[in-house]
Amino acid sequence: MDKKGQIAIFVIVALVIVGVILVIFAYPQIKNIVAPSEISPSQYLKDCISPEVKGAVDILAKQGGDENPVGYINYLNVKVKYLCYASGYYKTCSIQQPMLLSHFSDELERILTPKINTCARNLIAEYERRGFSVSSSAISSNVSLGSGNIKIEFIAPMTITQAETTRTFDKFDVSIESGIYDLLSIATSIVDYEATYGDSETTLYMQYYPNLKIEKIKLEDGVKIYKLTDVVTNESFAFATRSLVWPAGYGL
């Protein structure tokens, strides 16, 4: 066989392989036929909810923990919430959001709830599409923040039956890696300093926590934007403070 023939065969084989791959991706049911697999409900839900979690955390994190903040500074077209605020000069600030962790997780849960329900319903639909019989009851959820992860409880009791196999689930736990808990903890501590001393020394935090990067951006009229970034996960949390502001000159 001459070289041209060999090349032609290789090209045809390559085209066939690419075509098969495309068909499999275009028609997922074929994938099941070709490589039938057991659904991992937790993994399914995790895959479903993860992008949403990431998006929601991003939104909340860059706005000081609120989806629709009140009491904020507009910084680069982002409403960054004041976590500590003093209106006048020479005054240390008052804490505006005392329970930051709880508030953040409440906000996150509120944002994610519709998507959590959708994901749970999609899971049921997926089972049914695969020929399972599914009985389920009302869906609820619980979002909690932990050190290094965000835990989402899909409280979606369901019984899945196929042939003689029956499986019952009360809830599904999904853990998504995130450093937001630790960022919020640091933010809480910084806000403590702002309220007590009017400013914070950020170098020490970074010395203690080498993966942490803290940017302190000083805006006009004494407003400060803190941006905390986990350099490993690249997550960040931003918030604003205004504390112990000194006017220029003698104010005369």
């Binding site: 009491g71 240390t92 962790l101 403590d192 950020t202």
Partner: protein
């Protein structure tokens, strides 16, 4: 007849003696009166210039620094929720609050609002504790608010929570929560008290091989993990074993690769299964350690001597604290084993000078010289302080606040191995307090105590020297708005130099040094020390001179007496001899001084200055204003040039330089003779009052008359000041001799042809001729030269050529830095990554266009015929003319930022439309605004008719008065024609009596035991004032006030009169009346009050601190720092106005307690354990003051309760503890969670619970502060009613 004649002679001689004595006394009096007049005038000048400004500063200080105490006076209002969503906000006025608050405004400061009280907010779910939380913010979020803002409560107590590979410094509830979420058993170490210790612990957990089943080949699967994780995974844990240990029969092969590990500093070996092994060492065998875990301390050493990276090529035992950490290898940093990709990389940095800095080191960077250089502050306009830090090999920079609102302080620690380690911090700049101290009695003491202040001495001459408290690192001014102009104006001073014509020519008598070049230099040193004022360079070295000086050379023109009467100061014989040495020295301040740093303030002062910035003030503003005003008088007398002059004169008894002073000194000589002359005369009278006078009596009387007349002539002609003392004495003696000879002849009835009276008359004539000649020569003439220095706010250079170099020095640009580079520089895109300093008008050559500003025109005035050339300002009533002396206000608008000057002479060049440097005339010109603005308000007083050359007594006269205005733009381009503002002026006649606008003290209460009280009153026009105990007409009142009636002596509240009122009784009331037009000699043109203003003084009782707590007691807390409430009860003084403060540093700084009246308290939240000594000080606005010392001890309970006894009565188990505690039982395990146990009843020393027989119970107790052992106290079993400890 003869007898009659003798009587006549005797009576005449007696008359002469009496008259001579009186005349001597009169001359003495006149002399001293003149001296005093000069002194008083000097003092008042100083006060009028400076003290009004200090008053303003004091008021501003109250607003800025004492908002809390300012409540009642300025109606501070608090708002629980603002319209923009902020919680607990204070507003300076009720109207602002009503505008911005979403709820009801509360007319008090935040500390008075219960819902805004600060405490700790505990999240019972997450376990977090947010300190300093307002009550409302906490509870509205579902938190539990605890009444301690510092977290000194059990729920907020932190310990070390170990979970997985991590350890966090959390509350116990937080740790429990983490355990619930992760499923990892809770491991809370309450005994670990610091975050650092906790972090260290995270690297010291028990680790080992975790076997998790077998592979197909029968080998064990292995993971290297902590014990907790292994047990969670239900693995078999081999503590201290590596997975590659042959004993474990795993499939893992040792030391296949090496790499970094997240969260750890070192390089580690990894086995073929990917498990971490020991710290990398080129000596593999020692590193593997026979398959056992090798601790960090036992691993290879990276260090040798002082070299922290000595074994970088062979050892992976990096140490973050010693500036090394695992990272990718580089061209210069690598392991000897070329296969390995990671290395212990140096985390040190190179600073801006190329020096090595350790990781974590922080140091200060400045943009020029800082602090005090010699006797002046050196920080330049636009410059800031920065703090740099070395962070993992990267140098970071942080600005210490724009406008130098913070100072970078630095200290160095010597390292054992040599070298130093710098620690820097940005601390609040308390420099603006320094100026305020100048209103205080103990200003120098306070100045020396504040590390941000220094005592600025200005010593120009013996008579003109004073001390002011000035900032070491002056806070920058907003260069665009002219903020700080009042602070600069403190250095605007006038010195009166006096010279007298002598027979030998003109001679200086006082303040000669004020006319020398050093005057402007020394005054500029003061000026620039007060902030961005005067002649200074910006931080890139551009000099602008922002001051005005009259009758003294400017800074760059050091004068020499080379060619008298030539040059710009011909009148005083100066010649410009340019010498820029002074200015060059100032220019050097834009250069960084190597090694210069701001010293770190000591901890005691720092305690008082950080964190409690709004409580440095004193009591209520009204009383403080009064106090400030009262103190101003003292201030002016003691620190002012005039004050120094007065004190100097008083102590030395020497001449002060004016004619009258000299006259006084010389007349003293003559006066000394007067009593003897008088006595002699009296004796003569005694002897001659009989039949006839003696000849001696005639001699003495003649001598007295001769000396007296000569003295009077010397004084009356004014030549005395120009004569030497000896010459004056000789002339007086000659006059006396002449008089004596004539008197002798007269009394002894010597015949007319005798030579004795002829000689006498000749002598007298000679004396008279000498006096006339001296008078004709002008001897004794006095010249007063008012040498003025006006300190103006610093101005950036014209134009904007240098805007874009902002940030080129490697330090970030800012609004302040940008604005200092040029008049047309503007900082844009602030807060973004595109911050820039740009020139906003690079090609602008057109000067500003002026138009009238209608909104700023005073009611009753109108603009007429506005055009490009000017505008007329007229009264809206009558003939449109404005009365002389009346105060008017109008405004001008510019179409762009500009600076304007005016002159009363048309077509003057802009440069000449300013202060005359040689003349004391007002119509030469002046600045309309001192900074570039787009609009300006002009407040001015209409000139008198006399000033315009017309008689003011003619009511029908009118005069035109025109101000010619020119403006320049930011690039220095000036209009080529005047903008004329025209007025019509008519004579003003003041027919109304003055009104008292202000008094100080305002209240009636005075200090307990006071015998007199200084009283100042202000009137709305120049006046003379009197007081009397009885209510009389002005003319009948006996006591005068000393009043400043100069037209330019107007202060904030008008013209001031001072007096001292004796207080013989507990209550004294005086009556005050004033009279206007003090310059009118015709009393019918002066109008006085028809009614008196009564002013009452009432002595207070002494102020006493009756009780204070805590005192002499021991306070126990569970958490450090502890919160302690300090309380004081007072009586006496002005109870409604009493304020108390507490000092922790033996009286150097007092932090105010809350509350006026008799009860004062405040919670202090930062007490460590140990004995505490506090000083209490209470005072009121009357000046009463009381002190009291208290002491107490703070104990921190860190000990867990001990079980002292256990016994059972049947099934009832009783446990006794050595302190109050809660105890719980568990049948599960020893380290059970307390909250999961069964709580025993009783929370003091005895605890009971029913138990089952023959069962094992674990007992755990914790005290009120949650101190517990962490595990169970006891393990017990109850058998047949008897307890058995296991």
């Amino acid at each position: 007849m003869e007898r009659k004649e003798h009587y006549f002679k005797a009576i005449f001689e007696i008359f002469i003696l009496v008259v001579a004595t009186i005349s001597f006394s009169y001359l003495m009096h006149e002399s001293y009166s003149l001296e005093n007049n000069i002194l008083i005038r000097e003092e008042n000048k100083f006060n009028s210039i400076s003290l009004g400004l200090l008053l303003i500063l004091k008021v501003i200080n109250k607003i800025l620094w004492d908002e809390k105490n300012f409540v009642s006076a300025l109606e501070i209002n608090s708002c629980e929720l603002s319209k923009t969503g902020q919680v607990c906000v204070e507003y300076l006025s009720a109207s602002e609050c009503l505008d911005k608050c979403a709820e009801q405004c509360i007319p008090t400061s935040l500390s008075g609002v219960s819902n805004c009280k600060l405490g700790s907010c505990f999240d019972s779910i997450e376990g977090t504790c947010q300190l300093n939380s307002p009550k409302r913010a906490c509870e509205s979020n579902g938190g539990t608010w605890l009444n301690d803002p510092n977290g000194n409560v059990a729920q907020c107590k932190k310990g070390c929570c170990v979970h997985g590979n991590n350890a966090n410094f959390w509350t116990e509830r937080q740790c429990t929560r983490a355990s619930e979420i992760s499923g990892i058993a809770k491991d809370f170490r309450a005994d670990i008290r610091t975050e650092f210790d906790c972090i260290v612990l995270s690297g010291a957990q028990e680790e080992g091989a975790c076997l998790t089943g077998k592979d197909v080949a029968g080998k064990n699967n292995c993971k290297f993990a902590t014990k907790a994780l292994c047990l969670q995974a239900r693995g078999e844990f081999y503590s201290g074993y590596l997975c590659s240990n042959a004993e474990l029969n795993t499939n893992c092969v040792k030391q296949k690769t090496s790499s970094c590990v997240e969260g750890k500093d070192e390089i580690y070996w990894f086995d073929s299964c990917g498990n971490r092994e020991n710290i990398y060492s080129a000596n593999k065998e020692s590193s593997w350690n026979d398959g056992k875990v090798l601790g960090k301390d036992e691993s290879c050493s990276l260090i040798s001597g002082n070299n922290y990276l000595a074994n970088q090529g062979t050892c992976g035992n990096c140490n973050f604290l010693l500036s090394s950490r695992c990272g990718n290898k580089t061209a210069t940093e690598r392991l000897s084993d070329a296969i390995q990709k990671d290395v212990c990389r140096s985390l040190t940095c190179r600073d801006e000078n190329g020096n090595t800095r350790q990781n974590g080191e922080t140091w200060c960077v400045y943009q020029g010289a800082i602090g005090v250089d010699g006797n002046r502050a050196a920080d330049t306009p636009g410059s800031r302080h920065f703090m740099r830090s070395c962070f993992e090999g990267e140098v970071r920079i942080e600005s210490c606040g724009d406008y130098r609102t913070k100072v970078c302080v630095e200290s160095k620690t010597n390292l054992e191995g040599g070298g130093t380690f710098s620690n820097a911090a940005c601390v609040p700049n308390l420099g603006d307090l320094c100026v305020i101290y100048n209103t205080e009695d103990d200003r120098i003491k306070k100045c020396n105590e504040n590390p941000f202040c220094f005592v600025k001495e200005t010593d120009i001459s013996h008579e003109f020297s004073f001390k002011l408290c000035a900032p070491k690192y002056p806070v920058g001014h907003n260069l665009a708005t002219g903020e700080g102009s009042s602070a600069c104006a403190l250095a605007s001073q006038k010195c009166t130099a006096v010279k007298v014509k002598k027979t030998s020519g003109w001679e200086w008598k006082a303040n000669e040094d004020c006319t020398k070049p050093e005057f402007a230099q020394k005054m500029n040193n003061l000026c620039m020390s007060l902030g961005d004022c005067g002649a200074e360079v910006n931080y890139v070295g551009d000099l602008t001179e922002n001051y005005k000086v009259r009758h003294t050379p400017r800074l760059g023109q050091i004068m020499g007496i080379i060619k008298p009467s030539i040059g710009i100061f011909p009148r005083y014989g100066y010649v410009p001899n340019p010498n820029n040495a002074y200015l060059n020295n100032i220019k050097k301040y834009s250069d960084v001084v190597p090694g210069q740093v701001a010293e770190s303030p000591d901890a005691g002062e720092f305690y008082g200055t950080v964190g409690i910035p709004n409580e440095l003030g004193e009591s209520g503003v009204v009383s403080d204003l009064e106090k400030a005003q009262a103190q101003m008088k003292t201030f002016g007398m003691i620190t002012g040039g005039a004050g120094a002059l007065m004190m100097y004169a008083a102590s030395q008894g020497i001449s002060l330089g004016a004619l009258s002073v000299t006259g006084a000194t010389e007349l003293t000589t003559a006066t000394l003779a007067a009593p003897s002359v008088s006595v002699g005369g009296a004796q003569g009278v005694a002897q001659t009052v009989g039949p006839q006078l003696s000849a001696a009596g005639g001699v003495i009387a003649g001598a007295a008359i001769g000396a007296g007349v000569t003295s009077w002539l010397i004084s009356a002609t004014g030549i005395g000041a120009g004569m030497s003392r000896d010459f004056a004495n000789a002339l007086i003696i000659a006059g006396a001799i002449g008089g004596a000879l004539i008197g002798t002849a007269t009394s002894a009835t010597i015949t007319a042809g005798s030579t004795v009276p002829v000689v006498g008359w000749v002598i007298v004539v000679i004396v008279l001729v000498v006096i006339v000649i001296l008078k004709l020569m002008g001897v004794g003439k006095v010249k007063e030269i008012h040498v003025n220095f006006r300190c103006l706010p610093w101005e950036p250079p014209r134009g904007g050529d240098k805007c874009e170099i902002c940030g080129d020095d490697g330090l970030p640009c800012s609004e302040y830095a940008c604005s200092a580079l040029g008049q047309t520089c503007k900082f844009v895109n602030e807060g973004t990554s595109q911050e820039k300093c740009i020139n906003i008008a690079p090609n602008d050559i057109s000067p500003p266009i002026i138009t009238p500003w209608q909104e700023e025109l005073q009611d009753g005035l109108v603009y007429q015929n506005p055009s490009d050339l000017g505008v007329n300002i007229r009264s809206s009533s009558g003939d449109g003319c404005i009365a002389a002396y009346s105060q008017i206000k109008f405004g001008l608008l510019l179409d762009k930022y500009g600076k304007c000057r005016y002159s009363t002479t048309p077509n003057k060049p802009y440069e000449e439309m300013t202060w005359s440097e040689t003349e004391d005339v007002a119509d030469v010109g002046e600045d309309l605004n001192i900074v570039f603005q787009k609009n300006m308000t002009v407040n001015m007083r209409m000139p008198s008719m006399e000033m315009l050359g017309l008689p003011s007594y003619d009511p029908n006269k009118q005069a035109d008065y025109t101000m010619y205005v020119k403006c320049e733009n930011g690039n220095g381009y000036v209009a080529n024609r005047d903008y004329a503002i025209k007025f019509c002026i008519k004579p003003g006649e003041d027919l109304t009596a003055p009104a008292i606008t202000k008094r100080n003290p305002a209240g009636e209460y005075v200090k307990a035991g006071a015998s007199e009280q200084n009283l100042s009153i202000w009137t709305n026009k120049p006046s003379n004032c009197k007081w009397d105990n009885a209510n009389k007409d002005y003319s009948a009142m006996l006591n005068n006030f000393t009043c400043a009636n100069g037209f330019d002596e107007q202060e904030l509240f008008g013209w001031r009169c001072d007096g001292t009122i004796p207080l013989p009784k507990d209550e004294t009331t005086i009556n005050v009346r004033c009279e206007n037009n003090p310059w009118q000699n015709d009393s019918t043109k002066r109008f006085s009050n028809s009614e008196s203003t009564p002013i009452k003084f009432k002595k207070t009782t002494p102020l006493v601190i009756d009780s204070a707590s805590p005192d002499d007691e021991t306070l126990v807390f569970g958490v450090e720092p502890a919160s302690v409430e300090v309380e004081a009860e007072t009586s006496g003084g002005i109870s409604s106005d009493t304020m108390c403060g507490v000092s922790f540093d033996n009286g150097r700084f007092f932090e105010p307690l809350e509350g006026y009246g008799n009860s004062h308290s405040k919670v202090f939240e930062s007490f460590s354990s140990g004995k505490k000594f506090l000083m209490l000080k209470c005072d009121d606005s009357a000046g009463n003051i009381a002190f009291r010392n208290i002491s107490f001890e703070v104990n921190i309970d860190r000990k867990a309760p001990e079980v002292t006894r256990i016994y059972a009565d049947g099934s009832a188990l009783t446990i006794k503890t050595d302190e109050n505690a809660d105890c719980a039982l568990s049948m599960d395990k020893c380290d059970f969670a307390f909250e999961n146990g069964t709580l025993m009843s009783g929370d003091e020393l005895a605890h009971t619970s029913s138990v089952e027989m023959n069962k094992i119970y674990y007992v755990m107790c914790k005290d009120d502060w949650d101190n517990s052992k962490g595990t169970c106290n006891k393990k017990i079993k109850v058998i047949g009613g008897i307890t058995q400890q296991l």
